[in-house]
Every structure is written in C-alpha cells, then in structure tokens.
C-alpha cells in the first residue's frame, strides 16, 4: 500500500503534482513537447539530473565507487603501500594506475559522480526551498470533500452548535501547535513545517561541507619535524623535514613561532606474552613537554600527548612518534671534533631497538658512514647477538658498523638522512669484514679502524616527531556537520501532518468528522487524529450516543 501523500507533495520525482506546481516544472510539459529544442533538451536533462531517482542512483554509484579506495593503497593515505605495490606487481600497477585507482578519491570518475550528485542536490534544494517558503506562508489547504478516504477517519456526535464546535476545535488544534484555517463548516490544520525545514538544512549543510573543503581546503598545509630534547624548532618552510601545502598556500602564511622540546617521557607497563612467556612492553602514555614562544615573544610550557594536540596561533601540533637520539662524537686522529650531533634512531620494535645512520663527511681521511643499532635495555642472547628487552634506557648499548669511502653527498641528488647508500662505500667493521662491530655503552669511547680517531657515545636525549597542521576547513566543516545532524534529526523525527475537523448540524447537536494526512512516513497519524478528536470532544462536554451507527471506515 502506497502511503497517501498530500497532493502537493514534492518528492522530486518529476511526476506532475495535482495542485501548486513547482516553478521549474510547469513549463517543460505542454506545448514545447513536439519539438525539443536546445532549451527543451537542457530542461529535460536538468529535470532528469535533479530527479529523486537520479539522486538515488548517484548515491549508490558513489558508494560503489569508493570501494576501490579500500582495496588498493592510496597515494594520499598510504604512499609507501603504493610504492610497494608497484614493486610487487609492476604490470598490474600500470593498469590500475592508468585507471587512477591509487588516487580513487581525486580520480576523474569519483569526482564526476560526486560533482553530479551535488549539482543534482543544489538543483533539488533551490525549487524545494522556494516551494517550502511559499507553503510556510500560505494557508493550510481546503478541506477535502471525502474525509472518509483519509487516515484515522472517525465520526462522533456532540452537543452544541457548529459554531461552538469549530471554535473549540480551533483552540484544541492551536494548542497542539497546528496552524488552523477555517473553510465553511470545517477546519483545516497543518503542523510540522519544521520537517521540511530540517530536510533542507540537512541538504544545504552537505553542500556546506563540500564547499568548505573545496575552498578553505586550498589554504591548508602540514609539515613534520623531528625535534631532539633541548632543540628548538622554528616555524619556517626550510626547517621542516617534510612539508606539503595546498593550492593557495604561500610561505608568508607561516606564522613565526618556535617550539623547544624540554622533555619527553614514555610510560610503559609490563605484560607477559601467553605463548612465548616473553615480557611485553605496553605503552601507557607518551608526553612531550615543550616550550612554545609565540610571535609576540611570550613563552609558555605545554604538554603534547598522543590524543591531545596543542593549538599554536591557529596551527595544531601533534605528537606522532618518538625514540632515542644518541649523541655521537667523532674525533680525528689529532683529537679534533669532526662530528658531534644527536642522531634520531628509528624504532624497529616495541622494545625500541632502533636503527640510525651517521654520516661524517669531513675531517677524516675519507668520508665515513655508520649504521648504528641502539638497544635501550641490552642483553646478550646465546647466539651472541644483542637484543633489547625493555623500551626504557636501563642498559643503553650502541653498536656501529663503519663504512668508508664516498657518501655520495656531493652530486646534488637529495639523500635520505635515514638511509646509507653503500654503493661507493667499503665496510670496515661488522658483518663479514672480520672486524667486530664497535660496541659502546653510554659515555664510552672506542677507536675507529685504521687509526682514524675515536667515536664516543656522549649522551642519550630523546626525540619526538611533531606534525604541524593548519587546516582552515575545520570550523566550516564542523558548523556544517552540526547543522546537518540537527536538520537530519528534525527531518526524520518531526511528523508533518494535516488534520481536518468537519462539523455538521444534526437534530440534537453536531456530527463531527475527523481525518488526517501525512507527508512522508508517519505511522502515528491515526493516534494523532484520535488525540485531536478526544480533546475536542472533552471540550464539547463529551460524546453523545446516537441511535444511528457510524459508518465503518473504508480503505
């Protein structure tokens, strides 16, 4: 059974409505039909595009089109995965890449679907808004002749005159927040205009989200920086390790501020792994204490935690990663310092066994490279290898494999600070060289091979990697989302209904007839009509029994 809908119900399906035609659709039928000129065609396409059916199909297409974005790695969210994919299967990669599957959400086909959807949406919102605007300012429609065809139809007899019955009815309906209009001996009432308002607000808010992301998104940027305890980061384009910006960004937009890492602390709890019996470290909390100095020279100390970024002049600083950054001092044979830096070691496991690369380009007979392993709590395994058993520096040990030769720094090709290109290097300690790797405890010094000098493990600060974001879409998206949710709830749960009361003089009083009509889904309509009838009859002093039975409602 199709629910009955008001005759002016506009579901966007383009089917002609009986009364009160929408402005856009009256003209396309009628005389222009035999020759569909250019204008006719445009109208036809527009009407198809803004129809409810098209919106539905586009929505379903959008859902399907998003699926590839979860099946193959995306450049935007998982660039390493894309590189891996290319390495594993270059042929398939080429095909998929040509189809833009690695950029699903910016691909031509995905964009086409959502742009069409939003064109359809706007084309839908505009006529519905004007329609709703007029509906809100017009009187409830005339009472239908055959109320008994409608929902919740019921009859009752009461004492008094038609006039009394109608003014009582008006009072009851007003109290139930209906808008009431009198037509002859009947009342026509309507309520729930908020439903359509909510619906329109919801759909407009969706446009708001897209528009905000489209425009404000162009001004966003984000950058990452590794900061070692005691070091200060200054917000300039050149100081970032990596930086990416949207279309309209220019570096004058970077507000000057600086951020010093005072201290980093990680808290762990021990747990025993059921299978292996090994001790596992569960991280409980990470806190980076920083001092932020803003453009006006004011400094404040603040904490950054994993789920608690801090705001700095409209930017946000997030704590992404952390690890150890041993300070390594290299001296040449004469005892002059040729290298003295803290080097960020990248964690490799949950006990923070970490890998770091040291490059000493100058001051020694040849360039020197070292691959270092760092064990915060080192123990020696039976095989002789070292392993870390706990992520805190209880027994910090550093091992170094030394390489000499050409680091390849001079040929102008940018080099990754976290990788050592060993093509032009000769390994001189560790591995198959026959010379043991250098092993250092904190504060210890060892000789470099060939009498080149010494290397010292001088200090053990920690580092954090900080992500700095400026996202100007947040406010707009947030406001739109709140509006969307409010609109959604209102439009789904506020019923829009019409109720009629018709009165007719009889010998000993009035015969009253009640009925209702809903727009959209409204299973409680019958109860609502009943409430109106009950309250109305109570006001009129109750029902009156009559000899003549009321007719059965016909469906």
């Amino acid at each position: 059974m199709e629910p009955l809908r008001p005759s002016d119900y506009d579901d966007g399906s383009g089917a002609p409505a009986a009364i009160d035609e929408g402005p856009g659709r009256a003209s396309a039928d009628g005389p222009t039909q035999p020759r569909l000129g250019v204008v006719g065609w445009v109208r036809f396409v527009w009407r198809q595009l803004t129809s409810m059916r098209t919106a539905l199909v586009l929505l379903l297409l959008l859902a399907v089109a998003a699926i590839p974005g979860s099946l193959v790695p995306q450049r935007s969210s998982n660039p390493n995965g894309v590189v891996q994919y290319q390495r594993d299967d270059p042929e398939l990669f080429a095909v998929l890449d040509a189809l833009q599957l690695f950029d699903t959400f910016t691909s031509v086909w995905f964009s086409a679907i959502y742009l069409l959807l939003f064109v359809s949406l706007i084309g839908c919102i505009i006529p519905r808004t004007t329609h709703h605007w007029r509906a809100m300012r017009s009187r409830p429609p005339k009472t239908p002749a055959r109320l008994n065809r409608l929902v919740g139809y019921r009859e009752a007899d009461a004492r008094g005159s038609v006039e009394e019955a109608l003014s009582a009815g008006e009072a009851v309906l007003r109290r139930q927040r209906f808008r009431v209009e009198r037509y002859g001996d009947s009342l026509s009432a309507e309520r729930g205009y908020l439903r359509e308002t909510g619906n329109l607000v919801f759909h407009m808010a969706l446009v708001g989200v897209l528009a905000t992301v489209g425009f404000a998104g162009g001004f966003g940027y984000n950058g990452q920086k590794v900061i070692v305890e005691g070091q200060t980061f200054v917000n300039q384009l050149t100081t970032y390790d990596t930086f990416s910006a949207s279309r309209f960004f220019d570096d004058s937009r970077l507000d000057p501020f600086s951020l010093r890492l005072d201290e980093f602390e990680g808290v762990f709890e021990a747990a025993v792994d059921e299978q292996s019996g090994a001790l596992l470290a569960q991280p409980l909390d990470y806190t980076a204490t920083v001092t932020v100095t803003e453009a006006n020279g004011e400094s404040v100390q603040r904490d950054i935690k994993v789920n608690a970024p801090i705001d700095i002049q409209g930017m946000r600083a997030y704590l992404l990663g952390n690890g150890f950054a041993p300070v390594i001092t290299v001296r040449n044979a004469d005892g002059d310092v040729v290298f003295d830096e803290s080097v960020a070691f990248l964690p490799q496991d949950s006990n923070l066994t970490s890998l770091g690369i040291i490059k000493v380009p100058d001051g020694l007979p040849e360039q020197l490279g070292m691959i270092g392993f760092f064990y915060p709590s080192a123990v020696q395994l039976e095989s002789g290898a070292l392993s870390s058993v706990w992520p805190q520096p209880d027994n910090p040990v550093l091992t170094l494999n030394v390489f000499q030769g050409d680091l390849g720094l001079d040929d102008g090709v940018p080099r990754n600070a976290y990788a050592l290109d060993v093509d032009d290097l000769e390994q001189v300690t560790g591995g198959e060289t026959g010379t043991e790797s250098i092993v250092l405890g904190l504060g210890q010094t060892a000789e470099l091979p060939n009498g080149w000098g010494t290397v010292e493990f001088t200090a053990l600060p920690r580092f954090v990697s900080i992500d700095i974001h400026h996202d100007p879409t947040q406010l707009g998206v947030f406001v739109s989302t709140v509006l969307a949710i409010a609109g959604l709830i209102v439009s789904l749960f506020v019923p829009r209904r019409r109720v009629w009361i018709a009165a007719e003089q009889t010998n000993d009083g009035v015969r009253l007839r009640y009925a209702g009509l809903a727009r959209g889904e409204d299973p409680n309509l019958d109860g609502a009509v009943e409430r109106v009838a009950t309250e109305h009859l109570d006001r009129l002093g109750g029902r009156v029994e009559t000899s003549q039975p009321a007719p059965v409602a016909s469906q």
Binding site: L59, L62, I67, S77, N78, T104, N307, D471, I489, P549
Partner: protein
C-alpha cells in the same frame, strides 16, 4: 583482576548456552506456527478477526469513548497490524530465556570492563561482546514498543554465532590501551557504532521478513507458513524503516565522532583510511535507502534489499576489513 576476567569468560559461555536454548525455542515456535496454521485457516475465520476488530474500534470510538479503544489496542497489537495469532508457549519460554541470557551477557561485559579498568570495547573480542549485548538489548527493548518476537530466532542465532566467533578466534587477555586509543571520542565512536549496528541488525531482520512475506503474498509460495503469522509486508517495511533511520542517525554520529577522534590522534579529521572509506560507504548506502523509501518504484522490495546490503556492509566492515585490509585502524584489531 585475572580472576574477574576469567569469570567474565565463564559468563560469556553461559550466556551463549542460554541463548542457544532460546534460539532452539524460537525456532520451535516458528515451526509450530507453520504446523498449526492450516487448522486455523480451516476454521474459516482466517481474515475475519482483523475486520471485526477494525469495525469494533470505530464503532467503539463513536459510541463509548476512546478509553476502550486504547485498551483494545494494547491488548491485541498483532491483530492491529494485520498478523494473526498471539504468542505461543515456545515463544514465551524463548523470550524468557533470551532475557536470562542477556543478563548473563551483561554480567560478562561488565566484569570484563571492571577487570580491564576501562570500557569493554577496545579490541575485536570486546567490541563483539558489547555490540552483541547492545543488539540483544535493543531487540528486547523494542518489545516495549512493538512485538517483533518473530525475529527472535534470527537475533539469538546471530548473537550466538557472533559471540562464538569472537570468543574462539579473537579472545585476548586484558591489556592496557595504547596511547593512540585513549580518547573519549573513541569511546563514544565505538559505542555509537555498536548501537547503530544493533539497530541495523534488527532493521535487516525486518527487511528480510518483509521480502519473504512479500514473496509469499505474491507468489503464494509453499513452506515457511509461519510467515502468515507475522505482520504484512508493508507493516514490516515501515517498522524496518523506523528502526533503520534510528540506526542511520547513530551511524552519522559514529562517522562524526570517528572524524573528531582521527583529528585528535592523527591530525586530520578525514583521510580516506580503509576504515573511514567503509564508514562512508555504509553511510551513503543507508542515505540511499532513505531516498529509496521516498522514490517511486523503489519503495518495497528494492529498498528492503538496500537495507540488507547496508547491514551486510556493516558486517563486512567489522570482519573482513578489520582482519584483511591494511590501514591505520588495523592495530586496534585483535
């Protein structure tokens, strides 16, 4: 705390046992309905009670005031919505068992939370435990509003299956939450997601019933005669719609709370991570479902299929996507 966690596990298994009994009783109820129907139909009064009640209610309201009508409605809800027959003994027993199972299930979830000293939905096992608890709870709670006990076999069966799978395959001991998962937004996100899942599950059950019932109305198919005792297809459709839109509102909250959490944890509110993609897909599918309900030619069976596909996507998101798809959420998995 160790003890409490194992106590919780005992309660899980007990709840599964009781649910299984409830499932059997619900199934027997459906079988009994199928078997008994011909007898009733033979008495010749198959369609009559409906009409009689409708007529009585109109006359009643015209004559004797609405109090009578109210009482009538609460007494015979099945008849008002077009179905025939009341609750059988099996159904009552099954429903009581379902309540007992749920109490055990609740105890299991609470003790798990106390043992872990945090909300009990931080990994796949716990999420499964809480989501099925909310699902059963929603099913039991919906009874206060509408009699949908004919979904009992489906819901208890589904719950036992899910509980069994998460307990056997994904059980983990109580461990503390890693820093990335310590967030009020995550708690809200997962809780609302579970609630949405619960509503979608019931919605999908109603939509499935609707399709079966429609099939039977149109094709006069044999078998599954218990279908004659559930409400008509259009009543089921409107029930399913009302349940699903509540689920949709919860899902919208899920999406928003997830975005806020992602913004706090990863510095962006939306990044098309695998899990985000699926949350989006599900949201769009149900938006499509709501549109379908208002589009000519899509009401009825097609929209029912959409609701079922939508719920399928929810399950897919929880199982396959969690286990086999790469993404930022994978470390929150097992």
């Amino acid at each position: 705390m160790e003890n409490l966690a194992s106590l919780s596990l005992v309660a899980v298994y007990s709840a599964m046992g009781v649910y299984t009994l409830a499932f059997i009783a619900f199934t027997l109820d459906l079988a009994k309905r199928s078997a008994e129907l011909p007898a009733r139909a033979a008495s010749g009064a198959a369609g009559a009670p409906v009409i009689a009640t409708a007529a009585a209610s109109v006359r009643g309201s015209a004559a004797g005031g609405t109090a009578v009508l109210e009482r009538e409605k609460t007494l015979k809800p099945e008849n008002k919505d077009g179905s025939r027959g009341g609750a059988t003994v099996y159904q009552r027993v099954a429903f009581a068992l379902a309540i007992i199972g749920w109490v055990l299930h609740l105890a299991a979830t609470l003790t798990r939370g106390i043992a872990a000293d945090r909300v009990p939905w931080s990994n796949m096992f716990e999420f499964g435990l809480t989501a099925t608890l909310l699902g059963m709870g929603t099913f039991l709670g919906v009874q206060l509003w509408k009699d949908v006990r004919y979904l009992g076999a489906y819901i208890t069966g589904f719950t036992v299956l899910s509980l069994g799978i998460v307990t056997v395959n994904f059980y983990v001991d109580v461990v503390p939450t890693p820093p990335a998962l310590q967030s009020a937004w995550l708690i809200i996100h997962v809780l609302v997601a579970s609630l949405a899942t619960a509503f979608f599950a019931i919605g999908a059950g109603l939509s499935t019933m609707q399709l079966l019932r429609h099939q039977r109305e149109v094709r006069k198919t044999a078998g599954l005669r218990f279908l004659d005792t559930v409400p008509g297809a259009s009543t089921l459709e409107s029930l399913a719609y009302r349940i699903n839109v509540v689920g949709f509102v919860f899902w919208t909250f899920t999406l928003v709370a997830g975005a806020i959490w992602a913004e706090r944890a990863w510095g962006r509110y939306w990044g098309w991570d695998t899990k985000e993609v699926w949350t989006f897909i599900i949201w769009v599918l149900f938006a499509g479902y709501i549109h379908a309900r208002a589009t000519r030619g899509w009401r009825g069976n097609r929209s029912a299929w959409l609701a079922i596909v939508g719920f399928g996507a929810v399950i897919f998101n929880y199982t396959i996507v969690n286990l086999f798809f790469e993404g930022l959420h994978s470390y929150s998995g097992i």
